[in-house]
């Protein structure tokens, strides 16, 4: 196991004005699934610390357990061993301050775009007093004109933007992104990557992105955590100090990409 850079706060670029961000600590977390009576280990003693307002990416091969780690952070499942902490407090269940944007937008087909975005406020009984936040969130993702559309009328990119607005309307401290751009065509994907960065810069939340796209991880995140194959262990942490906005053609990104590929054992094909 190679550790490229010791994780320490301040060593990597965090958001300049972290208004709401939170710290996330993952301590000695292991997790296994029960597969026909046999335990299937998925996560192996993961240790992580993500600072306030940081944009971190979890990078790893498909099926390595990235999404499992996300579900633990979201509080949708509990780890077999170890603990997860937000601001020093153990995560015991889902909380609207930690919102997940899944790979599949999973909009409710029976609700309009507006109704989908309003979901979190409605669930917490805040809709009546905070109605305007729905419109704000829609404006933020550029869907103001589509408030009354139904999900089946939206394109893939618009659906994912709606899912993003549905998360942002809750003013999350920690935004968990589970391959949110994985199903988009490559052009929409590039646009949305840029939009994600500017959203993060404006809103100041802590972002945790799971992806298996090396370019995406390096373009978006200040720190890329490379996971091994299942059961996932942390193989390396790569700090990307490039200031935002970044340029895809930056030679430093190419260098980092070579480094990441080496950690993934793919340097032979590079």
């Amino acid at each position: 196991m190679v550790v490229a850079a010791a994780p320490s706060e301040g060593a990597h670029p965090v958001n300049k004005n972290p208004v709401r961000g939170t710290t996330l600590t993952v301590r000695e977390v292991s997790h296994s699934f029960d597969l026909e009576g046999q335990p299937l280990p998925v996560l192996d003693r993961i240790n992580l610390r993500i600072g306030r307002g940081e944009f971190a990416a979890l990078l790893g091969p498909s099926g390595c357990g990235k999404s499992t780690l996300l579900r633990l952070v979201a509080g949708l499942d509990s780890p077999s061993a170890g603990g997860l902490f937000v601001e020093g407090k153990a995560i015991e269940g889902p909380d609207p301050s930690r919102i997940v944007v899944f790979q599949d937008p999973t909009l409710y087909p029976w609700r309009t775009v507006w109704g989908n975005v309003a979901l979190g406020l409605e669930a917490r009984g805040l809709l009546r007093t905070h109605r305007e936040r729905v419109e704000d969130a829609l404006r933020l993702v550029g869907l103001s004109g589509f408030a009354n559309a139904y999900p089946h009328q939206l394109s893939g990119g618009m659906s994912q933007r709606t899912a993003l607005a549905r998360a942002l309307v809750n003013d999350p401290n920690l935004l968990i992104l589970d391959e949110p751009l994985g199903q988009l065509d490559s052009l929409t994907r590039l646009t949305m990557q840029g939009e994600l960065v500017s959203l993060w810069q404006r809103a100041g939340f802590t972002a945790l992105l799971v992806t298996h796209d090396v370019e995406e991880a390096l373009f978006l995140a200040g720190r890329v955590i490379v996971l091994s194959e299942r059961p996932a262990q942390i193989r390396a942490e790569i700090v990307n100090g490039l200031p935002y906005p970044r340029h895809r053609g930056d030679p430093h990104l190419a260098e980092l990409r070579r480094e990441v590929f080496a950690h993934l054992g793919l340097d032979a094909i590079w």
Partner: protein
């Protein structure tokens, strides 16, 4: 040279263009339908009935058919200017077929007497029943409709709540599911003798039976709808801070609605069957009873009239249900049109 050819062909081309236009086709279709109904009216009026038969309402029936030509012709001409009336074109083949059917029916019954009586009365005999017996028929329609409405709403409501409960709660599932499996498949009509004995009135017994017939499919389909909800919908709502109440009312139930409507539709079908059987056997009112009563008097025209009304009523109620579904489930793609 070529210009001459063009000019020569432009005349017929124009005419063909007009003939192919929707306005012209609706005009032709509407006029053809009007002519067909006029022909039926002429046939009924001027072809004398078979000797020794004394069918009442023959003139009135002919007048009715003839009267139909006026709105049809008007609609046909109005279709040239109002595109909304061009649907006449779509209806025309059916209207003509219906006219032909009536003409054939009239011919083999009243005019030629080829079909045995009293089993096959001519159409004017049914008109006679509808007009002369309208008070009794009206009362029967009201009675049937009241019974159906009360029983159906009770059954649908109980079935819906039960379905949500067993789809959501493990405890409810443990206790209700076996009962449902054991009792549900039993046809509601099998309860008839017992129900009329246990309940204080045949009215309450019928309501119980109709509710039972409706409740089973509604329960099963609501349950399967709630059980089949994409678990990601719950994950999303939970991370957004939703409680149990929200998950049931705002996630599980709306997601299950397409299934619920299939259950409501199936329940409506079985409730019609139970309604008619219950009315025939013990309830001394309603269209089912009317059918039975008419048979006792060998009044076949009355039976046809009751059947016709019943068909209209059932079809109308199902149309209403589908309209409601279209309205509530407008978010779905590719709904079946009723």
């Amino acid at each position: 040279m070529s210009s001459v050819v063009d000019e020569a062909s432009s005349g017929p081309k124009l005419a063909r263009g007009f003939l192919a236009s929707p306005a012209a086709r609706s005009l032709i279709g509407g006029l053809a339908a009007a002519a067909a109904w006029l022909a039926v009216a002429v046939l009924i009026t001027y072809w004398p009935d078979k000797p020794d038969s004394d069918w009442a309402y023959t003139e009135e029936f002919a007048a009715l058919c003839g009267a139909l030509t006026i709105p049809l012709a008007l609609a046909a001409f109005a279709g040239i200017w109002f595109a909304g009336l061009q649907s006449v074109r779509r209806l025309a083949p059916w209207l003509i077929a219906l006219a032909l059917f009536l003409a054939a029916w009239e011919t083999v019954t009243a005019k030629l007497g080829l079909l045995p009586l009293p089993f096959f009365p001519p159409p004017q005999a049914i008109l006679e029943v509808v007009v002369d017996d309208r008070a009794r028929l009206g009362a029967c329609i009201f009675a049937s409709f009241r019974l159906l409405a009360i029983g159906y709403f009770l059954g649908a409501a109980v079935g819906f709540v039960t379905g949500v409960a067993i789809g959501w709660s493990r405890l409810a599932n443990y206790w209700i599911h076996p009962v449902l499996r054991f009792i549900g498949p039993l046809p509601a009509t099998a309860w008839l003798p017992l129900a009329f004995f246990i309940f204080p009135s045949s009215f309450s017994a019928s309501i119980f039976l109709i509710a039972l017939a409706t409740g089973f499919p509604v329960t099963v389909l609501t349950w399967s709808g709630v059980g089949g909800v994409n678990s990601a919908y719950y994950d999303i709502a939970r991370t957004l801070g939703a409680g149990q109440r929200f998950l049931v009312l705002k996630v599980a139930i709306p997601a299950a609605m397409p299934h619920v409507f299939v259950g409501l539709f199936m329940g409506l079908g079985t409730s019609f069957a139970v309604l008619v059987v219950a009315e025939m056997l013990d309830v001394k009112a309603g269209l089912g009873w009317y059918l039975q009563w008419a048979q006792g008097w060998a009044a076949y025209a009355n039976m046809y009239a009751a059947l016709l009304i019943m068909a209209l009523l059932c079809s109308g109620v199902i149309t209403l249900l589908f309209r409601l579904r279209d309205r509530l489930l407008s978010w779905q793609k590719g709904l079946v049109r009723w």
